[in-house]
């Protein structure tokens, strides 16, 4: 297949390029309206999208294979390879694309995907989902549709591998439906150190009545990545979002989210902790929107960032958009350094400055990690973080120890 770039495509060019069916015309319409992301797009304002759009990519052919049985769901280069017994994973079409998503790449993802991967989480289960990328300079575009069952409580643990996917661009995301009275917990663990592939994940999560959604991302990656998240909350639905970011090098990573309270008595809680070293840029651009119909909403959001590297940079954009007076909403954001008083306290007990700093950084991360309720997953994430913290040579704290 001929290499493509994503930039400067007219609607007609895209139509030809993507060979879209009439069915997808609406999506094409919507995509053209939002336009290909550029530095001027609000959602990509702080993320260097331009070079990614200009780059030429090979495209991965869409050839579904037979799905083998294994203990986890493994998706290799956008094709499902394995799935555990008892979990239904299949290809299909998806008709409920959100027509009010803010992210153009959400629509592009749907346009580029001939068939979505549908995962049905039956019962109270825990599943691991591994994404693996094996080709360089390739555009991987695929979408997942994830559904759970009414009154059931499932956990999805997501990991990524892509050692040889240099200069590739991953454009994936899921449309999730959290059924009435159910709960779904997504733990996203990005520790891959392949510094060369970029990932843009564009999600839509619909949380139905009395359902509970937990989305926690633990992001210790090296290259650039952006997670765009739109969440709709129906009556009495609850969303808990947590984002831990620990990055260095030239990485630009973060979250762009919109949590939309639509029904009465909805609640959301969003918390971000960002640790930025070296030349990294962290992004937390999060909107809480409370619609006129969402009386008695409770929405709280908080972001904290610590700058460790001389050239580290944090961009925070916590936003409230509120159309009703019967509610409780707040946000807070700080960007700064480790607390001097705390450092001093530890040092006064005989701990060296370096150790005290390390201790505080780990403690800062742990406040989020320890909110994972089950100990097994908590331990896994904790290990990932410590591995990233000690194994990578990115932190000045460790460099100081060497001196």
């Amino acid at each position: 297949m001929k290499p493509i770039t994503l930039q400067h495509k007219s609607k007609e060019e895209l139509r030809t390029l993507l060979k879209t069916s009439a069915k997808k015309d609406l999506l094409l319409e919507k995509f053209s309206e939002l336009d290909m992301p550029s530095t001027k797009s609000e959602a990509y304002r702080y993320f260097d999208i331009q070079p990614l759009m200009e780059q030429e990519y090979k495209t991965a052919a869409f050839i579904p294979r037979e799905i083998k049985e294994h203990d986890k769901i493994e998706i290799v280069d956008g094709i499902v390879k394995t799935a555990p017994k008892g979990i239904r994973v299949y290809y299909g079409t998806y008709d409920d694309v959100d027509m009010t998503h803010f992210d153009p790449l959400y629509y592009l993802g749907h346009l580029l995907t001939p068939a979505v991967i549908i995962i049905e989480l039956d019962g109270d289960i825990e599943v691991e989902l591994l994404h693996r990328f094996t080709k360089s300079q390739t555009l991987f575009a695929y979408r997942l549709v994830i559904k759970n069952q009414i009154n059931r409580h499932a956990t999805l643990y997501e990991t990524f591998e892509g050692k040889s996917a240099e200069r590739s661009l991953v454009l994936y995301g899921y449309d999730m439906h959290i059924a009435k009275d159910s709960s779904l917990r997504v733990l996203k663990n990005q520790t891959a150190y392949a510094p060369h592939y970029t990932m843009i994940a564009s999600h839509k999560i619909s949380v139905e009545k009395q359902a509970n959604m937990v989305f926690k991302s633990f992001d210790f990656g090296d290259a650039s990545a952006l997670t765009l998240l739109k969440v709709d909350l129906d009556t009495s639905a609850h969303m808990e979002a947590g984002h831990l970011l620990y990055i260095g090098g030239q990485a630009k990573r973060g979250i762009v989210s919109q949590i939309v309270h639509k029904g009465k008595h909805t609640s959301s809680h969003q918390e971000a902790k960002n640790i930025l070293d070296e030349n990294a840029r962290g992004i937390f651009d999060a909107l809480i929107k409370v619609e006129h119909t969402a009386k008695y909403t409770k929405a709280h959001q908080n972001s904290k960032a610590i700058l460790l590297g001389e050239n580290a940079h944090m961009v925070t954009k916590p936003q409230l958009e509120i159309y009703i007076d019967e509610l409780e909403a707040s946000h807070g954001a700080t960007t700064g350094q480790l607390d001097k008083k705390q450092l001093f306290y530890l040092q006064s007990r005989g701990i060296s400055q370096i150790d005290a700093e390390k201790m505080l950084v780990i403690a800062f991360a742990n406040t989020l990690i320890e909110k994972i309720k089950d100990t097994r997953n908590q331990e896994r994430i904790k290990m990932s973080f410590e591995e990233a913290f000690y194994a990578s040579n990115r932190t000045k704290l460790l460099k100081k120890t060497d001196q």
Binding site: H292, K295, A305, L307, L308, G309, E310, N311, A312, H313, M314, V315, T316, K317, P318, Q319, L320, E321, I322, Y323, I324, D325, E326, L327, E328, A329, S330, H331, G332, A333, T334, T335, G336, Q337
Partner: protein, 477 residues
């Protein structure tokens, strides 16, 4: 409290909606090079000024009206606006000022005749497109302070105007600022010399009177090393069904150790509860803390206008310079406000404080939009922001859009925002102690705004409180 009663409480009548009938010199609606030459000629401007205006106009023609703000309005027809309106026979001294204008200002509580001038406050009164009277300017002159209309400054102090105009807000900064650069009619110029502490409050009162007229004033304040000035502006307009455009530019420059305190009480006609009429207020205000240890402080009480689009900002260039922004913005009826500030930290150890209080009632939409940027060389820069919204009623909206960027490892940004309503519990508590509903609402709202009112000079704090009562309380004073 039932919604109907709350609405009654929060839709005070606009008290300054009168119109005076005076003979004016008004240019017909429309905007082209000839209009600009006409304005410039009317004001006997030197050629360099005319050329600057034309340059801005050319630039403006290539620009597009911005639409990123959280506001909606019918398209503005820039050709349907008259860009110049002045009372006939410009006054040479007070005896020449049309008594009807003096009367109009007296009605606004601003006596211009000498016996009644406000104690300790020097006033520049701008009526439609021209400055009609500047009080106390001779006394101020003795200290070397220049306080005059900008038209006069262009004639008398061209070197200062050439040096400082467009130095903080570049001519092509944004659509409305560029338009203003082409068509500005009058405004105020202030220069405080080295080491002088201006002994009185300086103040400009803007009044739009003529129909279909835009007001495009320009204010320039330069505070030289070690000086201090407190400047206030007020504004109002008649009640009309049509929208009128107000696009002002304010530039402040504070040199080393200088301090400028700039307070605004904005009470343009807000339109009615269906969104008909009212002023479109698109204003660019920016201050430059040029020297070390300089300080610029913006305080605004925004109760008027159908649409408010303004972001009084500080560029903190000098080391240890300080920027402050204190704001109360009220949107009731069908008003929309998108307002906030920008604090750009460039110098070392610069600090900024933002306190924004938004009150939304009825169908009002109130947005705080702010940028805090700590540059990579702004070592040890600090910012604190507090943005609170108070919602009254279920049809209104309150939105908070802060942009926080920190590039300095020693920098510190802290932002907090809350949204609340007047709780039934608070209202009941006050009523149980014998306060009427209106008084109880007013007391809670004033409590909510207290921090900002505390920043206003005494006389203006009293005015702001009264204005808030008028806006929010209908007949209850």
């Amino acid at each position: 409290m039932p919604q109907k009663e709350i609405n009654k409480v929060v839709s005070g009548e606009y008290q300054l909606g009168f119109e005076v009938d005076i003979e004016t010199d008004t240019v017909p609606p429309g905007l082209d090079e000839n209009t600009i030459r006409f304005i410039s000629a009317k004001k006997n401007e030197p050629e360099w000024m005319t050329q600057l205006r034309l340059k801005a106009f050319k630039k403006w023609q290539t620009m597009a009206e911005p639409h990123w703000a959280h506001i909606t309005y019918a398209p503005i027809d820039y050709q349907a606006i008259s860009y110049f309106s002045a009372p006939k026979n410009p006054p040479q001294n007070l005896d020449d000022v049309d008594p009807k204008i003096l009367e109009a200002y007296a009605k606004l509580g601003i006596p211009l005749d000498e016996q009644k001038q406000l104690q300790g406050i020097a006033v520049d009164a701008v009526f439609d497109s021209v400055s009609v009277k500047t009080t106390y300017s001779e006394e101020l002159n003795k200290l070397g302070i220049i306080f005059c209309s900008i038209s006069e400054a262009i004639q008398e102090h061209p070197e200062l105007i050439k040096k400082y105009m467009h130095s903080v807000v570049p001519m092509n900064d944004n659509y409305f600022a560029t338009l203003n650069s082409a068509v500005f009619t009058d405004g105020t110029f202030v220069y405080i010399p080295k080491g002088v502490r201006c002994p009185m409050e300086l103040s400009t009162y803007f009044r739009i009177n003529a129909l279909n007229t835009g007001q495009f004033e320009r204010t320039l304040i330069v505070a030289d090393e070690g000086s201090y000035v407190s400047y206030n502006e007020g504004c109002s307009a008649p009640t009309r069904d049509e929208n009128q455009l107000h696009a002002a530019v304010v530039e402040l420059i504070a040199m080393k150790d200088a301090q400028i305190k700039y307070s605004t009480i904005q009470n343009w006609y807000p339109g009615d509860e269906t969104g008909k009429g009212g002023i479109f207020n698109f204003v660019t205000k920016r201050g430059l803390c040029q020297g070390d240890n300089s300080k610029i402080s913006w305080t605004q009480v925004e109760t008027g206008s159908a649409i408010t689009w303004k972001y009084p900002s500080c560029i903190l260039k000098g080391d240890h310079s300080v920027g402050e922004f204190y704001s109360v913005a009220v949107t009731t009826l069908a008003q929309q406000a998108d307002t906030g500030t920008k604090m750009i930290h460039l110098g070392k150890n610069t600090t900024s404080t933002i306190v924004s209080k938004g009150i939304s009632a009825m169908r009002g939409q109130n947005t705080y939009r702010g940028l805090v940027k700590i540059g990579a060389h702004a070592q040890g820069a600090r910012n604190f922001s507090q943005c609170d919204s108070l919602l009254i009623g279920s049809e209104c909206g309150a939105h908070t859009f802060p942009y926080l960027e920190c590039k300095d490892i020693k920098g510190y940004i802290e932002h907090e925002a809350t949204t609340s309503k007047i709780s039934d519990e608070q209202l009941f508590y006050l009523r149980q102690r014998g306060l009427s509903e209106e008084n109880a609402v007013s007391m809670i709202v004033h409590g909510f705004c207290k921090e900002v009112f505390g920043q206003l000079p005494m006389e203006y704090a009293v005015e702001a409180k009264a204005l808030l009562n008028l806006t929010l309380e209908g007949s209850v004073g």
